[in-house]
């Protein structure tokens, strides 16, 4: 029998959870009674009115901007994690570990202020 270490346990749980989701979807197909279809039932639901216009309408370009800024700042957060874990041990010996992160955050703050001034984060206009 295979050894179960921590990542095997995660894999085992993944398989069980996928199995659960698949079973539930399958069970509903088997047990749920299929009704008669018609054109109205198959149409997109818009509060009971007949659908108007394009079903995938245009949306604001701001959402793309948010996605790009997210990538930028989320990477910043990820870089902070290893620093945070070792900080307490290192700062007693050398204060450079504090100034190093401060300068890193400072550079990203410039980018943040630029995005703010450009209005990339304004949604009320």
């Amino acid at each position: 029998m295979a050894e179960i270490d921590n990542y095997h346990a995660v894999l085992l749980q993944l398989l069980l959870v996928i199995g659960l989701a698949a079973t539930m979807l399958g069970l509903s197909v088997l047990v749920g009674r299929a009704g008669r279809r018609n054109a109205i039932k198959d149409s997109a639901y818009e509060c009971g009115m007949l659908p108007i216009g394009d079903s995938q309408p245009r949306f604001s370009v701001k959402f793309y901007l948010v996605a790009m800024l997210f990538v930028l700042f989320d990477i910043e957060v990820v870089f902070m994690y290893p620093w945070a874990v070792v900080f307490r041990d290192l700062v007693a010996q050398n204060a450079m570990v504090f100034w190093g992160m401060l300068s890193f955050v400072g550079i990203l703050t410039v980018a943040y202020v630029y995005a703010l001034k450009k209005g990339a984060l304004r949604w009320d206009n």
Binding site: H8, I18, M24, L25, G53, P57, V66, D74, A84
Partner: protein
């Protein structure tokens, strides 16, 4: 039997017990509690009828048990409803999306330490079972990595539905979730700075010995001014973490993705029967696991307050069960807080939501990280 199969058996028991019994059970009863508590808040009665249908067996009266069988009735209804897939959707992704919503939410509970440990005799020797499914040394990173996969479920649901309102709902939801993920990640950094640790089991253990992060006092260690000084950034981190978690799980006051007055039902408008139920369960499971993470990081996880665990024998069965009970009591208290907030606060407007996330939360969290680092430097 050898040691290898022992770990396999205990892991299976833990997965089934935590994931399928505890969390899915809590999901159904959180839905019930949500309906009952909202009814109390709004001076209504709420679901109070469903109980044992004794009239079917020829008795005169049904027994209603305060409606406690309501989740069971809901589950049966979800399964028996017509499994309808509209003709205009992209079939494969339409089916994939609900599963993609549920699976990450249930997978994140793998790193939650829901108790200390239990030592039982096995095959003539003593074996210790840690009460966590996977003791990973990257706990919070694992949670973020897996939980953020849930966004794909919402994106695919909105896009594959091929319909206006689900599409708008999913676009809104995605941008909201990724915006608050930054604050969520940042507000956790102060805890890591103070604990110097990414392993949730060790974080719980340390808090059980030295007092919780939000109640830094233990009877054994006595009063420590430095830890009370650190309470300022940790308290701020707790508040921002909870707010970001409300936004991540799409709960009111951040439930714009599915605000009924504008978007019908948001990204799951076109879904019905079990596929809708999977979205629902995924949402509530994410809420429960999120509460579990908050409890573990800030409120001591499974530990008793004031370092009382130092005086209890380690590893015995009843202490392990006591710790599990403590963990779930804290979790349930937090879930009631979730429900309370939902039925108390009104919804934000979208520009307010974005301004709160990107300007207030982001700046406060970033300043808080530097404040924590400064305090730690000062007291080192």
């Amino acid at each position: 039997m050898d040691w290898l199969s022992f770990t396999l058996i205990t892991t299976l028991i833990k997965i089934v017990g935590l994931c399928f019994v505890a969390i899915l059970g809590l999901v159904s009863y959180t839905v019930y509690a949500e309906r009952r508590v909202s009814a109390i808040i709004q001076d209504r009665v709420g679901p109070n009828r469903v109980g044992l249908p004794l009239t079917l067996l020829g008795f005169k009266k049904d027994v209603s048990f305060l409606g406690l069988f309501q989740p069971l009735a809901d589950g049966i209804k979800f399964i028996l409803k017509e499994d309808f897939t509209p003709a205009h959707v992209k079939k494969f992704y339409f089916w994939l999306a609900p599963a993609l919503c549920l699976v990450p939410a249930l997978l994140t509970c793998a790193v939650l330490p829901f108790g200390s440990s239990i030592t039982i005799p096995w095959n003539g020797s003593e074996r210790t079972i840690p009460l966590v499914i996977a003791n990973l040394n990257v706990g919070p990173l694992f949670v973020f990595a897996i939980a953020s996969l849930g966004v794909y479920g919402i994106v695919l649901a909105g896009w594959s539905s091929n319909s206006k309102y689900p599409f708008f709902g999913s676009v809104r939801s995605t941008s909201q979730m990724i915006s608050y993920e930054i604050s969520l990640g940042l507000s956790l950094v102060p805890v890591l700075l103070v604990m110097g640790e990414l392993n949730l089991v060790t974080i719980s253990q340390q808090q059980s010995e030295h007092g919780w992060n939000l109640l830094p006092y233990s009877l054994r260690d006595g009063f420590d001014l430095n830890r009370w000084l650190l309470l300022i950034p940790l308290g701020l981190a707790f508040v921002t973490f909870v707010i970001a978690m409300f936004a991540e799980t799409n709960r009111l006051p951040f439930d714009l993705p599915e605000c009924e007055t504008e978007l019908v039902g948001g990204y799951h408008t076109e879904y019905s029967s079990m596929k809708f139920a999977l979205f629902f369960m995924g949402e509530y499971a994410a809420m429960i696991v999120g509460s579990g993470i908050t409890v573990t990081l800030f409120l001591g996880g499974w530990s008793l307050p004031l370092g009382l665990d130092n005086y209890l024998p380690k590893g015995t069965v009843w202490v392990g069960l006591l710790h599990t009970a403590v963990f779930f009591s804290k979790l349930i208290a937090f879930l009631i807080f979730f429900i309370w907030v939902r039925w108390t606060l009104p919804r934000f407007r979208y520009d307010q939501l974005m301004r709160l996330g990107w300007i207030w939360m982001f700046e406060i969290c970033l300043a808080n990280v530097l404040l924590t680092a400064g305090i730690l430097w000062y007291i080192s």
